[in-house]
Amino acid sequence: MIHNMKKNSNKKINNLSVFDKNFKEILTSQLVSISGGLIAGIVLAVYTDKIFLIPGMLILLPGFLEMRGNISGSLASRISSGLFLGVIKTDKINTPLIRGNILASFLLAVLVSFALGTVTFLLNFLAFRIFTPEIIIIAIIAGCLANLVEIPLTLLTTLYIFKKGYDPNNIMGPFVTSTGDIISILSLLIALVIV
């Protein structure tokens, strides 16, 4: 009887082991990540008539949102590695390595924005016979605006988190995706107003 009870309780523990430390960590980071996505989605829904007025915006949008995470995520990861290796110091921002990282991230963003705009323009023209060259300009302006905010924000947050004794690798992923989404949608809106 006691043996059976022990067996049952072991079974219960095994079943419960799905909800372990990893489960909590993944769930928490996901909740942070989706909260940014949802805020961005709400902004998108509120300004649907403006954002989706230009043909091809749904082609541009997914790549544009992903670009932020890819570029700033890699930047945060490179800075974190440098911090852990002692090559980058939290109190010395104006170094060739950090300047190089900022410049590379910005140039990559401009290049990818241009590519995204061009692909959108071509797909629009070839599939729907709609001629919208302004989508390339919108993509570049929005890319520049988003990065002017996102790159310094990523850099300073990574340095701050490390200075406070936390591992930026665990925090910067969800941070970059959530802030990136909001900043990207707002930049797109501003670019639409400008163009």
Binding site: I26, I34, G36, G37, I42, T48, I71, D181
Partner: protein
């Protein structure tokens, strides 16, 4: 100690592409981590930092953008129906983030398990993998249900009203979309990871770009299919 600094200065001063053997030498002789030496090699004074970063990242970034654009192209074809379903518009960035994140989590965990020799060919015999699969599925369900609820609440607040039938269909689309993509990501990671490992390649370098591209493209295409089928 002087010899270490001399060695490191030599490493810093050597052109970027020419000092792999020196890394091994310094690592063996002075027990400095290869990661530190690699970082010094990649971003030393003789290396053009922006050029190195751009050259190594540009192709994969352009490829990822092209894949995402193709996914977006599927949605553009049903634009009118899609934007009339406000909760789905609210959900779009969150779904993209969520699914991409699951791709990264599964890929990195599978890569680590392969390197540690913890993974078997028949994954269902592996307790740790079964647990990871269950964890991701449960978390995906929780976060999707929460996201859909927030999306409906936000839409309602903006004056959007809909029938219970449409509400259920949107719930169904979001949950089915996430569950199908999570399954595809999991099995792709396992199969591709195992294949790459057997070919003596590092799965870390391939799995994340593969799974994130599948996540982005798959999510858009699946949304397109489900919206077309149900609306």
């Amino acid at each position: 100690m002087k010899k270490v600094t001399e060695h490191l200065e030599k490493l810093k001063g050597t052109p970027r592409k020419k000092h792999h053997s020196l890394i091994d030498e310094i690592h063996t002789e002075h027990r400095i981590s290869k990661k530190t030496l690699f970082y010094i090699k990649e971003y030393g004074p003789k290396s053009n930092v922006p050029r190195t970063i751009i050259r190594e990242s540009v192709l994969i970034l352009l490829l990822a953008s092209a894949v995402s654009s193709l996914g977006g192209f599927a949605l553009e074809r049903i634009k009118v129906t899609f934007i009339s379903l406000m909760p789905l518009v609210v959900l779009l960035p969150a779904l993209n983030d969520m699914i991409g994140d699951y791709g990264v989590i599964v890929s990195s965990r599978v890569s680590t398990m392969l390197h540690q020799g913890k993974m078997r060919k028949n994954w269902w015999l592996d307790k740790e993998l079964r647990k990871l699969f269950l964890q991701i599925l449960i978390i995906a369900l929780i976060t999707t249900v929460l996201s859909v609820l927030v999306a409906f609440f936000a839409s309602k607040f903006s004056g959007y009203s809909t029938s219970i039938y449409t509400t259920l269909k949107i719930f169904f689309i979001a949950i089915l979309d996430v569950l199908i993509i999570v399954n595809i990501l999991f099995f792709t990671s396992l199969k591709a990871g195992w294949y790459l490992y057997k070919k003596e390649e590092d799965p870390n370098n391939f799995l994340i770009p593969i799974t994130t591209s599948i996540a982005d493209f798959g999510n858009m295409v699946l949304l397109w299919v489900l919206v077309r089928l149900l609306f």
